[in-house]
Symmetry: C2
Subunit: 217 residues, 2 copies
Amino acid sequence: MRETMSGHTGQMYIRPEEIEKRSMQIIENELRRVSSRSFDEHTAPVVKRVIHTTADFGYADTLTFSEGAVERGLEAIRSGASIVTDTMMAMAGINKRRLARYGGSVICHMQDEDVAADAKERGLTRACVSMEKTAQNGGDYIYAIGNAPTALFTLYDLVREGRISPRLIIGVPVGFVNVVEAKEKILELDVPWIVARGRRGGSNVAAAIVNALLYQL
Amino acid sequence: MRETMSGHTGQMYIRPEEIEKRSMQIIENELRRVSSRSFDEHTAPVVKRVIHTTADFGYADTLTFSEGAVERGLEAIRSGASIVTDTMMAMAGINKRRLARYGGSVICHMQDEDVAADAKERGLTRACVSMEKTAQNGGDYIYAIGNAPTALFTLYDLVREGRISPRLIIGVPVGFVNVVEAKEKILELDVPWIVARGRRGGSNVAAAIVNALLYQL
């Protein structure tokens, strides 16, 4: 097998680029068997990368895209849009070097002192206040939300009030309380969105979706 | 409902501590229905926190513990052990403030320049070389591996060669190529381990397991 090589004690390793290629082939083959949905050239790479990140083919059924959502996301990144997240984990997982090529960066206000103080005073979550903070600049960001349903509820309110104009909302929190409901609210919005319906999702899924966009450019 | 309060436009929010409590209740109830395995006071919080992080009850079947693994992990943290990860995402997800109370910190060599150079020269993965690097200090760390099967293969070799003495190996990479095999190798080792058998896992799962240990202290 030409693609293998010896590790330091004879353990056989496969080169990383070969692993990625084989993984994607396995995902494509299994995906055809387990899902009857068809994806286009823009949505397929997103679905495949989320499965690559989670080994969970259930996302083939739960990932939902507003009309042209991926294309709008690609346009946004190309024009230098930055990405707002609700966790440091999502921030860590996004390919920031690739994003910087187009002028964007990743923003997370969750650790900001003013956010913590404001949240405490008003009895709100930090996720909620950190989304409000983005409205100061018009909120024309890509929002990648993998954790907090309250972040999605707040984005919903801010969009309906005309205080932010998201280029794309990636709504993929994980959890058991308010998560399903928060994601369903986003489906009502007239802005581009990518949502993982149901309980599953996570910061890793949010980062994977952003990276799937970056790798299409 | 006393535990709810109004958000800025009347959206009802539940307090974060209440969400966590309710989520864990839901998980406990469903867990009894979907899994016939029983967990003890040490393993149950780990399984529940991983499900809390992923909404995936399959972990009740795949999470596997060597005898006393959680207790050994708790002792290690209490005595100031540091935690080695294979991704910045896992590092971001671990509660570093809580870990610091006991004297430990989180270490990730994946971005080190010497690791990148050495990996390139020898045709190995950075994950492999970054695990080797920990042997310089005897490797008496907790290893939390959520991404790279080659990290696990290397840990296996290093343990067998007597070059490292892990306090605990958390082996939970996700993926389709070499992942299942790498995790099965760890089960052969005579060091404490927590492994998610099968394809699933991830940096979020690795961080969740570390945090489940921290929250037991």
